[in-house]
Symmetry: C2
Subunit: 151 residues, 2 copies
């Protein structure tokens, strides 16, 4: 199963995730889980990714806390096994919506700061507020539509 194509995929995922501000190892781990045919133990991930167990442990847990992966148990085995969580992608998009709301909140603060008189700054901040309110609301609707179709 560790064929060259999946390794290539894992590597590309590492780079893609890295570009999003997370670490390459984290991205590789996520990519590995994406192409895994069954839940993987920490040691299996260590073998596949060639990183220390400590790193795999923390990255896997971060992955879990972000809602991208979850732990599953295997009968008669006390190892931890990880797999991609259901709705992983919706959850990252939902987090993005959170960031959008934060930007809207920031714009509102900015408007307080610049005062009520008309000004270029006020216009810019108003546009920022409108934009992020619009986008936040609309993308939330998109997520609901997606869940209706898939969930």
């Amino acid at each position: 199963m560790p064929n060259p194509e999946t390794r290539e995929f894992i590597e590309r995922m590492g780079l893609a995730i890295e570009r999003l501000g997370l670490t390459r190892t984290f991205g590789r781990l996520f990519g590995l889980l994406m192409v895994a045919e069954r839940p993987l133990s920490l040691d299996e991930m260590v073998d596949r990714l060639h990183v220390s167990k400590a790193s795999v442990s923390t990255n896997a847990r971060d992955c879990e806390e972000l809602g991208l992966a979850r732990r599953v148990g295997v009968r008669g085995d006390r190892k931890d096994y990880y797999e991609i969580a259901p709705g992983a992608f919706e959850s990252v998009m939902a987090k993005r919506v959170g960031a959008i709301h934060a930007m809207a909140g920031l714009a509102a603060e900015g408007l307080q700061a610049v005062g009520d008189d008309p000004s270029p700054a006020r216009d810019r901040l108003t546009e920022m507020l409108d934009f992020y309110l619009f986008m936040g609301e609309q993308i939330e609707e998109l997520l609901e539509r997606w869940r209706e179709v898939k969930g």
Copy 2:
């Protein structure tokens, strides 16, 4: 004009942008331009942000290349002045759409990698592909709707 509220706003913007994976100084510079009543020269930004001119120079240029700011000239003055670019927020969102398309492309590669037989990996990658195709398309539509209303 350097009132405490705007300074607070600039600082919050620095933190918000930092959380998005860019640097705090970059975010502060962007925040400063957001609340500026007129285009600012490099030296003015140096005064307001208390960072070296070298840093302001590179950050301002990066800001320009990202489509967040633009240079404007002032008659009889050979300094560079910067201001927030029109459509700055749309442009960051458009870049996000680019990242979404990249994820869709990655999913397609993953499907190639895992082969045609049914499998959990294949199901996950298919969902990933569908999700990002959907989101990419829909958010592009949102951007167009926004431009219709505002532009």
